[in-house]
Each structure stands twice: as C-alpha cells, then as structure tokens.
C-alpha cells in the first residue's frame, strides 16, 4: 500500500498564494514599523525600516561576497584524498 504523495508545494497556484501572503505580511510589518514605540540603543536603530533594510542588504552582500571568494576556496571533493 502506497500513501498518496503530497504535491502541495509543486502547484503554482499554492506557491503564488503563499508568496502573496508573505508579501502582504511584510508590507503589514513595514507599515506597523512606523508606528510601534521603539527603544533604540543608538538612535539610528530606531529609524523605521532600519532592520528591514539591514536584513536585505546584509544578505545580498553575504551572497555576493561568498560567490566572489568561491573561486579561491573551491576544490575537488577528493582534494584531501591521497
């Protein structure tokens, strides 16, 4: 007896719906960020959208840097095998 496989995440309709929910949540959070009472440590970290901006730019930079150091670090999988 074989159980029926789920293909929930393969249906474009479901994926689109999920993306829409996530984007809506993001927009909601961004709006909320302007009104919430902040307790910043430095001042600038209390600016609206600071964390959103930092998270996005930080991760793009992370990948860009990682991608650019890859040629220097990449070796064959059996590099250390004698």
């Amino acid at each position: 007896m074989k159980k029926k496989e789920s293909d929930f995440f393969d249906r474009p309709k479901n994926l689109k719906a999920m993306a829409a929910i996530l984007i809506a949540a993001l927009i909601g959070l961004l709006i909320f960020d302007f009104f919430v009472h902040k307790h910043p440590f430095f001042g600038w970290d209390g600016l609206p959208t600071f964390y959103a901006f930092y998270g996005f730019v930080g991760c793009v930079l992370l990948v860009v840097i990682a991608k650019n150091i890859r040629p220097f670090l990449k070796r064959e999988e059996d590099y250390y095998d004698d």
């Binding site: 393969d10 959208t49 991760c59 992370l62 990948v63 890859r70 220097f72 999988e77 590099y79 250390y80």
Partner: protein, 596 residues
C-alpha cells in the same frame, strides 16, 4: 562530610556496564542512566565539596547556578540523543558516547583545575572514539586529526594549569582573567575546544565524518563545555568580544557555499558559539545570562537540526544539498521538526533563540558597541539565510531529486519531537529557563518593537534569498569542498616539509656524519691510548719551536704514533717532559681558578 556521588561518574562508570547488556535491556539501561544522573544531581545541594586528596591537592566537586544550567542541558541531550540512537547497535559508539557525556559533566562540575584537566582529556579521547566508530576511511583520518588538535590544546592547557598552580599555590578553578602567561595558555587551551578562529577547523573537519547519531552527540558537548569554562574563568575578557564577533560572521560565508549540509550546520554551530563568546567577553550580568541561556537553547536546536538532517541521511544515504530536494512529499514530519529547529536557530519570535540570543545582542547595545552590534545583527540575518532557509529548502523543496524516502523511524521522530517541543517551550515561556540562570533576569524579550524588528530582519533576509534564487544569482550547490584553516596542517605543513626536505636532509646527513661517525671515531681513537694522543698533540704544537735537526725526528715519531696509536705503545715520556706537561696543566688550572 556529606557522602555523595559525582553525576559524571554515573555516566562514565555506567557506560562500562553497557557491554554486558543486550537488546532491549541495553536500550532500557541506557535510557535510565541519564535519568539517574539527573536525580543524583538534584540530590546534591549547591556547594563545593572536597572529594579526595591527590598529590596534596583537593579534588573537588562544585555545584552552583552556572554549572547547573550546563549540567541540565547535558543530561537532557544525553537522554534525547539516546532515544535518537536507539536503532544503533554499535557498542563502541554507545560506550564512547556515554563516557563523552559523562566527561562533559565532569568538566562542568569540576571545582579544581586537576580534575577539570582529567575530564577535559577524557572528553577528547571519547570524542575521538565516537568519530572513529563510523568506521569509514574518512572518519579514521578526521578522528586522528581531531585527536592531534585536541591533544595539542590539552598540552597547552596543562602547561597553563601547572604554571598557574605554581604561581598561586592553589588548584581551585574560579575566575582567571587575562594577565600572566599561565592565563594566556589556559585561554588558548579553552579556545581550541570553543572553536575560536583560526583554531576552529577541527570542528568542520571532524563532526561531519562521524556517524549520524555520533554527530548529534558531538555537536552538543565539546563546544558547550568550552563555553562553560570560558564563562567561569574569563568573563569580561575584552579580547573575547572581538574573537566572538569574528566567529559569528566568517562561518556564514562558508555556510552559503558548502554543499554538505552537516558541514553547513557545523559552520552555523561556530556562528552560534560566537554569540556566546561575545556575551562572555562583555561580562555584564545580562550578557553572561544571555551566553548561558543561549548555550542551553543551542544544545537543543542545534541537535534538533543535526537530527533532522541525520534522519534524511539515514533514509537517503546522503546529506549533500545538490543530491536532495523535494523530500517534503514523503518526510513531512521531519520537515516540520527541521523547520522548528530552523526557526529556533534564526531567533523567530516564539522560538528559543529569540529569548536567548537577543539578550547578548541587547547587551552589546547597552554597552554602546556599535560595530559589534552591527556584526551580530548581520550574523543573525546570515544564520537565518543558511541554517534557517538553505537547509530546509535544499532538502525538502528546491528541485525534485526524485528520491521518495520513507518517513524517519519512530525513535528518531520521538527524539526530534522532544527537542522541538523544548525549543518552542523556551521560546513561548522563557521564564522557566531564565529562572535557572546564574544572575536574576530583568530582560523582557517580548516587546512590540523587538518582535517587529526581528521579524523584519528575517523577512527581508528571506526576501533576499528568494530574489537571488529567482534571478539565479545564488551560487549553485556543487560537488566541491571549500578550503578552511585546516588546509595549513593538512596540506601546508606537508608541502613545507617537502619543500624544506632536500636542504634539511642534506644538513641532517652532514650533522649525522659529524656527530655519529667522525666524532665517535676520534673519541674512540683518543680513548684507546690517551697518552699517545696527548703526546701527538703536544708534539704537533711544539713542532715550530724545535730545532731543525730534531724536527725531522719528531715528525717521524708523530706519523708513527698516528699510524698505530691503538696498538703502538709509546716509549715512555722522559721524566722532564712528563713533569713539564703536568706543571702546564696545574698552571692553567690555577689561572682559571683565580680568574673565574
């Protein structure tokens, strides 16, 4: 004196009985042991107890708030790890795991530096056997390198301990602080186990080569005992703030590129330990509480992630990102547990790290450390990026690998379930964990601005991931490895030796010739007939002063003596020349005596 039994020995001595049990009895026994250890620990009131005397030093057991948190975490994860490994029949791994867990308890409850060192070394040895017990060629090599690195660290630690005991006259293990040479040596010994860069490569090298269950154990103990000893001995050491911040940041670049998902988890392990090291370096009550709480949370969510990836590896035989994908179809429960681990390590609100890691980041804020604050924030986004998104995405979604494995076995699911429950429990109800921390906690994790800020950080990190995936900028997962600092001892040193080999071996040859052939030969020659040798020497020195007529004769005599000094018995010296040389020696001796 109250009679009591060190909890460490419950597991270590208990481990020695495992071989005598079979089948279900062994499983039951192994599950009971950590429970017994827990109740033994519970029965001992908080205090320091002298256990016995060793070489005029007290060996002691210390139970206090700081050591208890780690003790609880270790016993808990021993229990969970054992459930996860119930299907394993490898006796060597089982015994090694329990000795290993017991040694970690031994380190944490050691009140003096001597018993600390003994358990420290036992931790290394048993970990090596766990790595070896996988039995593959790669694990043999990795285990040996692990052993060498940690023996090196152990020797440095021992040197520091001996120096310190001689200087202070006490073996007590308390606050050390960075001042004299001994404290630097002890810190270096601790730093190797904490995987502080550039001494971190052993972790990424060895842990992914252990067995599925072995890695779950390994990930929980060594680095966390190191965090404990750092918190005990080096709280407030500023150097640790810088090192910890580097630790949080650099591994995430490697984690993005790494294809082996257990290796990705190893990089994120270093990253998480970095947060704790920063907290210890800051040393305020909030920061130390944060470091300890985060260590507790990390033991749970990191092992949960290792268990989830391990379950996938158990069913599919691989944990390479480019060979997996689409497993959500057949392993949905493992997926859910993996997501709980991912959300916990990423500090999503309602998951454990949100209540623990944020204490450390807030501490950097209160201390106005701008750069460190920004680095930790970057590392938080980065860890979500690779551990939170990359791992579940490449295993369960991404492209369909065509693999349709069964769901993980029940014992694995139960173990993951317990860990997942605790991750959520700590996140939802952090007060329980806060109540066992070393200092009173005033920190409130759930404020509207903290929740919103953290959610925005994480949402936008995933937005970045999605954007880079859709635009196909994200570096593809490849069958490849990435160089790390272990290159220096795996390739660098052998190459250096090869390079320096020719000149060095030539020098070696010359020295060998001089010291092993020429010198002994001359000494033997001298020893066979010292008086003849001396006569030859004296005659040679006196040669220029002799008259022409005697020169030829003397030369002949020298050659004759040289040719057969061993067998040739010299004609005895004349009384005059014998007395002359004796007087000469006496005069030289007198001169030497008065001058010096």
């Amino acid at each position: 004196m109250i009679s009591m039994f060190p909890p460490a020995l419950v597991l270590i001595i208990g481990a020695l009985i495992i071989p005598f049990l079979k089948g279900r009895a062994r499983s039951a026994y192994m599950l009971i042991l950590p429970v017994v250890a827990f109740f033994v620990l519970q029965s001992i009131p908080e205090d320091t107890y002298g256990l016995m005397r060793f070489l005029n030093n007290d060996l002691s057991l210390r139970i206090d708030q700081l050591s208890l948190v780690f003790g609880y975490a270790f016993i808990l994860i021993t229990f969970i790890g054992t459930i996860y490994a119930l299907h394993v029949k490898d006796l060597g791994e089982q015994v090694a795991s329990y000795v290993y867990a017991g040694s970690a308890l031994g380190v944490v409850f050691a009140g003096d530096l001597i018993s600390l060192f003994v358990f420290w070394e036992l931790l290394t040895l048993s970990a090596t056997f766990i790595i070896w017990s996988r039995g593959s060629k790669a694990s043999q090599g990795a285990g040996l390198r692990y052993l060498m690195v940690h023996i090196f660290g152990g020797v440095i630690l021992l040197a520091g301990i001996i120096l310190r005991v001689v200087q202070t006259g006490s073996t007590e293990f308390g606050y050390i602080g960075l001042d004299t040479l001994s404290s630097y040596l002890i810190l270096l010994g601790f730093a190797i186990n904490a995987a502080i860069p550039p001494l971190h490569a052993w972790l990424v090298d060895a842990y992914p080569e252990a067995s599925i269950t072995g890695t779950v154990f390994l990930s929980a103990f060594t680095t966390k005992t190191a965090i404990y000893v750092l918190a005990r001995g080096f709280a407030g050491t500023e150097l640790l703030i810088v090192l910890g911040a580097i630790m949080t940041v650099f591994p995430i670049f490697f984690a993005v590129l790494e294809n082996d998902l257990r290796r990705v988890l190893c990089y994120s392990l270093i990253n998480q330990v970095g947060f704790m090291v920063v907290g210890i370096g800051i040393g305020t009550a909030l920061a130390l509480n944060g470091a300890v709480a985060h260590a507790f949370a990390d033991v749970l969510f990191k092992s949960l992630l290792f268990m989830a990836v391990g379950a996938v590896m158990y069913r599919t035989g691989t944990c390479k990102a480019n060979e997996l994908g689409g497993l959500y179809k057949t392993m949905p429960i493992t997926l859910i547990f993996c997501l709980v681990g991912a959300a916990s390590i990423s500090a999503f609100p309602l998951f454990s790290a949100f209540a623990t890691k944020s204490m450390i980041i807030s501490a950097t804020g209160y201390e106005q450390m701008t750069v460190i604050f920004l680095l930790l924030l970057f590392a938080s986004a980065g860890v979500f990026h690779h551990a939170g998104i990359k791992i579940p995405y490449f295993i369960f979604f991404a492209h369909d690998s065509g693999k349709r494995p069964q769901e993980a076995p029940p014992n694995m699911l139960i173990a993951m379930g317990i860990a997942a429950f605790l991750c959520i429990f700590i996140g939802v109800y952090p007060k329980t964990l806060y109540s066992i921390l070393p200092y009173p906690v005033h920190y409130v994790p759930y404020t509207p601005d903290h929740v919103v800020s953290q959610l925005l950080l994480l949402f936008c990190a995933s937005l970045a991931f999605a954007t880079l995936m859709i635009t196909r900028y994200y570096p593809p997962e490849l069958h490849a490895i990435n160089l790390d600092t272990d290159w220096f001892y795996r390739r660098g040193v052998p190459r250096l030796i090869a390079l320096a080999g020719t000149p060095l071996s030539r020098l070696n040859e010359r020295l060998g010739h001089a010291f092993l052939e020429v010198l002994p030969r001359s000494l033997i020659w001298f020893g066979q007939n010292p008086s003849a040798a001396l006569k030859i020497a004296v005659d040679t020195v006196l040669m220029p002063f002799r008259s022409e007529s005697r020169k030829a004769k003397a030369k002949k005599e020298i050659n004759l003596a040289k040719a057969s000094s061993a067998t040739y018995v010299l004609r005895p010296w004349s009384i005059g020349s014998a007395m002359g040389s004796v007087t000469l020696f006496l005069a030289a001796y007198l001169l030497f005596y008065y001058l010096f």
